[in-house]
């Protein structure tokens, strides 16, 4: 089990995260917050790139900084800005990272091939990465994170740059991988988290806002989300969420805490509604 105990992270006087307590067991955990909300800071602390100002992060009861190499052996990490050598092929690149991860050469060769095929890059594994699309590079990144068969897989914005088809494939892959490990992912794309995460962790004002299943989080807005064609009626005190075009008309989705207009239809809230409503005061 990975435990984050009362962790605070400060950069000088700026508090990036305050008194965060979390526990991670097997499954997919989605980190959700607007930009600058503290997701990447938490992820960097989990992969030992940053260290808590207060509090501790424990793996099986031992502080991760004390475990050092032992801990780095069990994590797989895909950073937000994933660099690569353009002149290398995915196979060469994965072999290089496998060597850095201390994986035996023969084993590395086998795993590199296996994971590149798993992320559907089997046909291009010997082609230089210079001409790869953003989505293909991202898939190389996911393959490298899996190389050491990590117990903890940490992915920072893994779906950025993926097209809808690749995103669906990625979701399926993560669901498959999460059966016997902890998967922690941060993303801006709420639908990704909603589909694959067992638990969603939201930060607000640099503190832990909620840590619950997507359905329970959606339930917090149950009976309060409506849709109407009458866009003009959605004024204060109602909070507009999204608009979409249907048959040349605009359908507005909004939150109504009190009495609602008669023309509006009550709908089932989704995670995006909660996200937009919770962070309504922040620039998203």
């Amino acid at each position: 089990m990975l435990a984050v105990n009362h962790v605070t992270k400060k950069y000088g006087k700026f508090v990036a995260l305050e008194d965060i307590t979390l526990e991670f067991t097997r499954g997919v955990y989605g980190l959700l917050s607007p930009n600058g909300g503290g997701k990447t800071t938490l992820i960097k602390m989990l992969v030992t790139l940053l260290f808590p100002t207060c509090g501790e992060i424990l793996w099986e009861g031992i502080e991760i900084t004390k475990l050092g190499e032992q801990y780095r052996d069990i994590i797989g990490y895909l950073p937000q800005d994933f660099g690569y050598y353009k002149n290398q092929t995915p196979r060469q690149f994965l072999n290089y990272l496998a060597a850095l991860k201390g994986i035996d050469r023969n084993d590395a060769e086998r795993r590199a091939t296996e994971f590149l095929q798993l992320v559907s890059l089997g046909d291009v594994m010997d082609k230089k990465m210079r001409k790869f699309s953003g989505g293909m590079i991202q898939r190389v990144g996911i393959a490298q994170a899996m190389l050491n068969d990590p117990k903890i897989l940490i992915l920072d914005e893994p779906t950025s740059g993926l097209d809808p088809k690749e995103r669906v494939r990625f979701r399926n892959l993560i669901s498959e991988l999460s059966k016997d490990r902890i998967v922690i992912l941060s993303t801006h794309i709420v639908s990704d988290v909603e589909t694959i995460a067992n638990r969603v962790i939201m930060f607000k004002d640099h503190k832990l806002f909620c840590n619950d299943s997507p359905s329970n989080i959606c339930r917090t807005l149950s009976g309060k989300v409506y849709e109407t064609w009458d866009i003009k009626s959605v004024t204060q005190p109602y909070f507009p969420l999204t608009q979409r075009q249907e048959d040349g008309r605009t359908l507005v989705r909004f939150v109504c805490e009190t009495g609602c207009p008669t023309a509006a239809r009550q709908v089932t809230p989704n995670l995006e509604d909660v996200f937009l409503y919770v962070y309504r005061d922040e620039v998203i």
Binding site: T40, K44, V47, T48, L49, L50, F51, T65, K66, G68, E69, R72, D73, I75, Y77, P79, Q80, D81, F82, G83, Y84, Y85, Y96, L97, A99, L100, K101, G102, Q144
Partner: protein
């Protein structure tokens, strides 16, 4: 009460198991380097370092040529200043190359981190530096009072003083620009005395007993190895300053 007690064999097995899990011999510096060499090979250990090494050798040759006019007059001061040039620039340029690379973060989360690879490279650079120092000492123009033992010991003294102090600063302080430490140390130890009073510095270096220069070089070498060992074993080093911050 009927309590099932373990047999002596079971007890022995359990003790052996506990001992095998609990007492692991700490790896020494050479074990770590050997394992890194076995796992990574020279190709991966020196990936992306060809240009920095070529540039550093060019800097060293350039520095010697620049000082060639004052070589006869200030031979000891020039040798003292030249000795660490390769090391200083090789460390600086390879560190810059690593830190501007977007893979830096990812590499810091692997079993062998960039800090450990840097330590390996630093040892190699100091070895190359030692060879270059020896060559320069041998090739330096002989004059009546030229002493090759003094020249070599002064060169090694400068090299290991610069390298041990640089690694200490890079290891101890987590500054954003701490990879400039080698060049700062080199300027302070080797160039500043020449700028203040070249005559006095040359006279001091030519008169200091060879036994002292050899002793200082030996002490600096021991300190260098200790610093390398500490650098390899660093666990707590934030990297947020460099990439993605």
């Amino acid at each position: 009460m009927n309590i099932i007690k373990p047999s002596p064999e079971e007890k022995e097995k359990a003790i052996e198991y506990i001992l095998s899990k609990g007492l692991s011999k700490p790896k020494n510096l050479w074990d770590i380097f050997y394992m890194m060499y076995r796992s990574l090979g020279l190709r991966y250990l020196f990936l992306d370092t060809t240009e920095p090494i070529i540039i550093s050798v060019a800097f060293m040759i350039g520095f010697v040529l620049l000082c060639s006019s004052s070589l006869k007059q200030y031979i000891n001061a020039v040798l003292f200043a030249t000795a660490p040039v390769f090391f200083v620039f090789a460390v600086l340029l390879t560190e810059i190359a690593e830190r501007i690379n977007l893979l830096y973060e990812l590499k810091m989360t692997c079993k062998y981190t960039i800090l450990q690879i840097t330590a390996f490279r630093v040892v190699c650079f100091s070895l190359i530096g030692t060879v270059l120092c020896t060559l320069i000492s041998l090739l330096a123009p002989f004059s009546g009072d030229y002493d090759i033992v003094r020249a070599l010991s002064l060169s090694l003294c400068a090299l290991f003083l610069c390298s041990s102090l640089s690694i200490f600063i890079m290891r101890y302080f987590n500054w954003k620009w701490n990879y400039f430490a080698p060049i700062m140390v080199w300027t302070a130890i080797c160039l500043l005395p020449i700028c203040i009073s070249a005559k006095w510095w040359e006279s001091f270096l030519s008169r200091v007993p060879v036994a002292i220069t050899i002793s200082v070089a030996a002490v600096a070498f021991v300190l260098f190895l200790k610093e390398i060992k500490k650098l390899v074993n660093i666990q707590i080093r934030e990297v947020g300053y460099y990439v993605g911050s």
